[in-house]
Symmetry: C2
Subunit: 335 residues, 2 copies
DNA sequence: CTGAAAGCGCTAACAC
DNA sequence: GTGTTAGCGCTTTCAG
């Protein structure tokens, strides 16, 4: 495995000159040509480890996400990657499996490999970013905020999304709209439920909202069991707002087993349906802009990497118009 | 950001001793304790870049896959990760988007970052592994073989899978079984189609198999348009074998639009259905052991990293019993 | 514009 | 068992 010394020897120049050519620092055209030729001949690839050690920074961005099997996060990853590639960075994906220990490990790796920056969808509210912050490694939180730290964040307006979803169901003339949200200690779950609660209480003055609220695990099985639970109520809901994509799959599954698929019962899901078009028609989704979250997060991160030192920013993306799952019929958007 | 020199100074020992405790090389307990304490006090994290430069190898495995949005590959990734973690390695995921240039770029990064090894699902039949092989970086091909290189590979028996799928349809009394497979230059697509062709020609002596064979892009839209195309035939098929998970989503979508969902028309898909249970009942899947592929590939790779130098191995996993999509009814397995 | 030389932080001979 | 020291391959002052 050749080094710049061998390239230098072959080209008849100093290693410094080789380095300059490789890094686009002005060098006489004659030398530059010789160096390139020599590098080519030796099939030379610079050793990034050495470069990173010397420069104290690599051209790699770490993207740390909780669940690589959730299409929401993979779409987000695509967004990050597209943005990053365009700016000349490579991204490596790390899956925390919603576990704090794995998250901590990958954060440590990102630091000790001197990666250019990290984009993180925190696995919990207890992520420790002390080391990252104290070493001034650029970091942006995405989808979920970094509890307790003032770092850049790219989020969606979950409360508005919950509100929008619930209103759509009321427009569709449903009146007892239940809610299945995520784990109680996850910020996005709380927020989406809050949006629902607002609208619910306005429409059901003498019913305790909690009766129609269920917390589940943001996965398919959670949506299924929560839906089953709701349908056992003395006065079951006639519609339901499901706070993420995977749970809506489970909820639809459950309803289908009960022979009650939409539109006989109303459903709005928060988050686009994976491989939509196959699911029962009649359900509606509030669009969760996964890719855009990724693109924006990468853009912010790259600004930081390039030295932007302004105060931490939080950008909130809108969730927009629902669309009927399966039939792809447009719905009116909330103002 | 502290170095071992600072830790050494605080602990009153030499940097070499610090390095030794960090690496588990025997050191007097008294010193070891002092070093640990000093490291703790300074919140010391070893600089992996320097270590990698010196040792010429890191503890990171690169997993390079063509499509991070395909649930098959994310399941495979989970398998790799679980295996790797258990052996003390971290894995970083790289998405090539089925593009050779991105694949080449990530391979180059894996090498120049001196990663411990790479697991690769080649984007095409033209992957260049010269550099990897000549540097003796352990590599294992997964799902698709590394055309032209004798490296470890973990594959599935695609021909048998195609055969099994087609036989299931014949058992279900369908007689004109078409096939939608992947791109013509992708090995797995060829193989699955070959399995189908065998059975097709045995059953349809006077029909050219090609008339009922379509190549598509292994994605949802490809499955949709290929299905539409088949249904326009003068004598349309009464059943179809779809060679991957995503395309089967598209094909079902298409049939649904034509009001011809299974079981009125037969369908067997190669590869488990993402979020199955919502799709129309009646289709069957041939199980594609994604997670197992990943687990096995990681196991082989780790053996190589640990110095195993035997000849290249190819392990072929079986595809097994179909299961009805949606209703999860078991099918009999092929012997 | 170019070269010499000093490290980046760590590990691994090599002496003691 | 422990310290000294010489690099790993690259970039980057600093002279010229």
């Amino acid at each position: 495995m050749p080094t710049i010394y061998e390239v230098a020897a072959l080209a008849g120049v100093s290693p410094a000159t080789v380095s300059r050519v490789l890094n686009g620092v002005p060098v006489s055209p004659a030398y530059a040509a010789k160096v390139r030729q020599a590098a080519e001949a030796l099939n030379f690839t610079p050793n990034r480890t050495a470069r990173t050690l010397r420069r104290r920074s690599s051209e790699i961005i770490a993207l740390i996400i909780p669940d690589i099997e959730n299409p929401f996060f993979t779409a987000l990853a695509r967004g990050v990657e597209d943005s990053a590639q365009a700016a000349g960075y490579s991204v490596v994906l790390c899956n925390t499996d919603e576990r704090q220990d794995k998250e901590a490990k990958y954060l440590k790796i990102a630091l000790s490999e001197h990666m250019a920056g990290v984009i993180l969808a925190p696995a919990s509210n207890h992520t420790n970013l002390d080391a990252v912050v104290s070493r001034k490694t650029p970091v942006v939180a995405v989808d979920r905020s970094a509890h307790g730290y003032t770092v850049d964040a790219v989020l969606v307006d979950n409360v508005a999304g919950g509100r929008l979803a619930t209103r759509i169901l009321h427009q569709q003339k449903f009146s007892r709209v239940a809610c299945i949200t995520g784990p109680p200690d996850v910020e996005t779950a709380q927020e989406r439920a809050a949006g629902w609660r607002e609208v619910f209480t306005a429409h059901n003055v003498d019913t305790a909202a909690d009766e129609y609220l269920r917390f589940a695990n943001y996965r398919v099985d959670g949506g299924h069991s929560a839906m089953a639970d709701l349908m056992k109520l003395a006065e079951p809901p006639d519609a339901v707002f499901v706070a993420n994509n995977l749970m809506s799959v489970g909820a639809l599954q459950c309803l289908r087993e009960l022979r009650q698929a939409p539109p006989s019962i109303g459903m709005v899901a928060f988050g686009d349906h994976p491989f939509g078009g196959l699911t029962s028609a009649g359900a509606t989704v509030v669009h969760h802009p996964a890719r855009e979250l990724g693109v924006t997060a990468a853009a912010l991160l790259i600004e930081r990497i390039n030295g932007d030192a302004q105060a931490a920013r939080t950008v909130v993306l809108a969730t927009d118009a629902g669309r009927t799952i399966g039939d792809r019929v447009s719905q009116s958007s909330e103002s």
